[in-house]
């Protein structure tokens, strides 16, 4: 059974919501009553339930199986956290109701901040950014504000390693920085000498992902940070891979000035098919004064939420990132995860994540090719497509064939610095038995690929809700919404 679109199965005269009709009244809409058509189909509740249940069954989630998407940290999402986020005391409070009626919410934000600061060793945290890229934007604005405050507004260049997430250069460019790329050295990490060579009075910051997107810890990070600081620039660290080092190193000790933290990665708020996330930014002493509003300030009278730029406690604030206080729903979930794990569990989690990634790499080294394997991997295992040479099978084909084995594919073609990259991040949530099953499926595929069983790969996936989809066609003449088909001219019936 194929599932139609709501526009095909619903009707505008149907509704799945009962709403009592108000007593007659005089409206205050003036001349502004809607006259435009409103072609919104309705579904009765049973129809809606079935439609979305069926759609869900065409999806794959962590609860369906291993989700080894490198750089995305798809870990278990505890349902306790969902339950906590739905407590009326968190879900049913308004961002603008009197602060005296939300003291528990402020305490929760303060407690979350305390945990983030303890885990990073940083000085301040801005909770409001709504996702990782938004956090980057916030951190880079803080850097720009700090330079401006120091009278160094001329600094207009940001250094970004080749292997960086695309958000890094996009963020820097968004606020007018020129992006200068830093090549990686042969072992997959950034050469401090290359950074030094690129630094100068025009450089505002270095943006570095650490552990980097090749799954390696930037072992010269301290030297790099020193060089950056010596040149009068700031060190922005992309925290997307924080899961590898949680409780193992405090990033403040590495010389980081700003780092965003993806609560939806490291702290397990669910990805929900693409969001919502949350991207709090931790800041060093140098950048702390520039945190945006609203900001939570501890005073003698308790916690105060400073909502306005320029007012006491926010004299140098960089401005406002969004309308309200940030992703409260995610804060609750993340804190719930942190309290559940505790200091011991969080450290264990990162150790298990790293252990699992290294195990994956160790078990596949003989059948696939792993660049930079002379160094321990962090939380993800990187492979390239050298081992596929001559088979006529590509990284993408491997990914699609993995779907037929019942798995979500790994990240492919990222990082760009490696040819035909396959990036596998198992996270700490998998049992050894689950890893072994996955590894055996992947080994089996690798053997089959080398043995030249091309049909298994080129036509994959065979067993998914859809065969391979034509992305080119979608992009060439984009169909981005449903439009009622023209009735056939002879459609008498």
């Amino acid at each position: 059974l194929e599932e139609g679109l709501i526009f095909e199965i619903g009707r505008t005269e149907v509704t799945g919501v009962d709403i009592p009709e108000p007593a007659p009244f005089k409206d205050r809409l003036g001349a502004h009553k809607r006259t435009a058509p409103l072609e919104l189909p309705g579904l009765s509740e049973p129809e809606a339930m079935r439609h979305y249940v069926r759609l869900s069954r065409m999806n794959y989630g962590i609860d369906s199986g291993l989700f080894p998407l490198g750089s995305c940290t798809m870990k278990h999402n505890p349902r306790l956290n969902e339950k906590m986020a739905r407590l009326p005391g968190f879900a049913d409070i308004h961002p603008l109701q009197p602060l005296s009626t939300v003291t528990g919410a402020l305490e929760l934000m303060a407690e979350l901040s305390r945990y983030l600061l303890e885990l990073t060793g940083m000085k301040a945290v801005a909770l409001t950014p709504k996702a990782g890229a938004h956090g980057e934007l916030c951190g880079m604005m803080a850097i720009k504000a700090a330079h401006a405050a120091r009278g160094e507004a001329q600094r207009n260049v940001v250094l970004v390693p080749e292997s960086a997430h695309g958000t890094n250069p996009a963020t820097a460019a968004l606020i007018g920085y020129e992006v200068r790329s830093i090549p990686a050295r042969a072992d997959g990490t950034v050469d401090p000498e290359a950074v030094k060579a690129a630094l100068g009075p025009e450089v505002a910051a270095l943006m570095l992902t650490n552990p980097n997107t090749c799954g390696l810890f930037e072992r010269d990070v301290v030297a790099i940070a020193e060089a950056v600081h010596q040149a009068g620039a700031y060190f922005y660290s992309d925290g997307a891979n924080f899961n590898a080092i949680l409780g193992k190193v405090r990033i403040a000790d590495l010389g980081v000035d700003a780092m965003h933290i993806n609560l939806h990665k490291t702290f397990s708020t669910p990805h929900g098919g693409g969001g919502p996330g949350a991207g709090p930014v931790v800041l060093s002493e140098a950048l702390a004064p520039f945190a945006p509003v609203p900001a939570l300030v501890a005073t003698a009278d308790g916690l105060v939420l400073v909502e306005d730029e320029g007012s006491a406690g926010a004299e140098q604030a960089l401005g406002r990132m969004s309308a309200f206080h940030g992703q409260m729903g995610m804060f609750v979930r993340a804190l719930s995860w942190m309290l559940s794990h505790g200091a011991d569990g969080m450290r264990q989690a990162s150790e298990d994540a790293v252990l699992s990634a290294n195990y994956v790499r160790a078990c596949l080294m003989d059948v696939m090719s792993a660049p930079f394997a002379e160094r321990p991997a962090m939380h993800e295992a990187l492979f390239d497509d050298a081992w596929l040479a001559g088979t006529g099978i590509s990284t993408l084909d491997i990914a699609k064939a993995l779907i037929d084995e019942g798995y979500h594919p790994m990240t492919v073609y990222f990082p760009l610095v490696v040819h035909g990259a396959m990036l596998i991040e198992p996270t700490e949530s998998e049992s050894k038995a689950s890893l072994d099953l996955f590894l055996s499926a992947l080994r089996d595929l690798a053997m089959a690929a080398k043995a030249g069983d091309k049909e298994r790969f080129l036509g994959a996936p065979h067993y998914a809700p859809r065969r391979r989809l034509d992305e080119t066609r979608a992009a060439r003449a984009p169909v981005l919404r449903w439009v009622r088909p023209e009735p056939l001219p002879n459609a008498a019936e």
Binding site: V17, L87, H271, A323, A362
Partner: protein
Amino acid sequence: MRYLPLTPDDRAEMLARIGVPSVDDLFADIPAAQREHELPRLPLHKSEMEVERALSRLAAKNVPAGSVPFFVGAGAYRHHVPASVDHLIQRSEFLTSYTPYQPEIAQGTLQYLFEFQTQVAELTGMEVANASMYDGSTAAAEAVLMAHRVTKRRKALLAGNLHPHYRATIETVSRYAADDVVALAPVPTGGEDIIAAIDAGCSCVVVQSPDVFGNIVDLKPIAEAAHKAGALLIAVFTEAVSLGLIEPPGAQGADIVAGEGQSIGNALNFGGPYVGLFATRQKFVRQMPGRLAGETVDAEGRRGFVLTLSTREQHIRREKATSNICTNSGLCALAFTIHMSLLGKTGLTRLARANHAAACDLADRLAAVPGASVLNDTFFNEFTLRVPDKATDVVEKLAARGILGGVPYSRLAPKAGLDDLILVAATETTTQDDRAAFAAALKEVL
């Protein structure tokens, strides 16, 4: 630890396979001087019951909207969300999935995003919509950036009655991007003359309707004036339900619509997560920020959906991307689209009517309280009340009487010199008793 499946035996076997003696060896690349050998100075792991107790204690310190007569709006609105919505968004396959990069096993997400895009376009009266933004305010800021790209100009003109937090969000990003912003002064009674401020340097005019004071704005003449000057009209709304009853911006000439979708399907959540709605004209689609789901076919010719036009996006174009956005509000968009599917035209119209009726009744009751006056000629479910005292004091006094009576405008814009105004909202969730209690309490307080 209940979330960690590996046992000590597993770990030992895995280390042996890797060929290192201890897990610490895997962290050898972290400089020894910086590596932490102690646990963080935080409490140890807790049972589910203990965590639940700790968080419930915090939650209990807050006053939930549902527990009192509640009239707070100003950008976020309390509506009844059908139980089926929350049930469905918690389906594992929705909740625990990722951005649909592998479309063959993500048709569920992609199809609902396609449905969502169509609904948003239809609701706003626009041609196309994206798959959601973080929230209304960031959507508005992205709309300004997009207008700059389309017009190749860099000055935004903001209506004085734009929500002050939206204004601040736009101003912040503009400041760092070195773009210009001209923001007019607020006119609580409505009818501000923004057309006079439009000039040939403007990339866009940003107008909210209903505006922050609740007034419904006639966008048509503004659109005409903007277009004449070569600028785009960006229409903003914070209450999506209003579009069930009032003329949508698309029918009035808007070029980009940026709005908050929280009202449909989503809880108040103390400000987030919400869902930004973003719609525009077909011709601007390649300048649009954010994800897009598009229709295509699979190898067997069956209809299917994929993320498309990703060449605009950061993970492909890096510093040349139209936006740095990566995460969207997928699950909130799902809640929106489910609730909207349940409503349909019929339900949305009824819902909007119930809201408007409640607000009209409340306005009449409050206007009858000596000393208080309602400023609006027109409104949907929110209006502005002028009080003889400081609005913040009045709201605090009402709260002390168990009534959450609205938002002092001065809280949103402390420097505007408008200290006697309260933004008051009523939705279908307010009862007649609630409204009577508010009026009675206001009488006591004034």
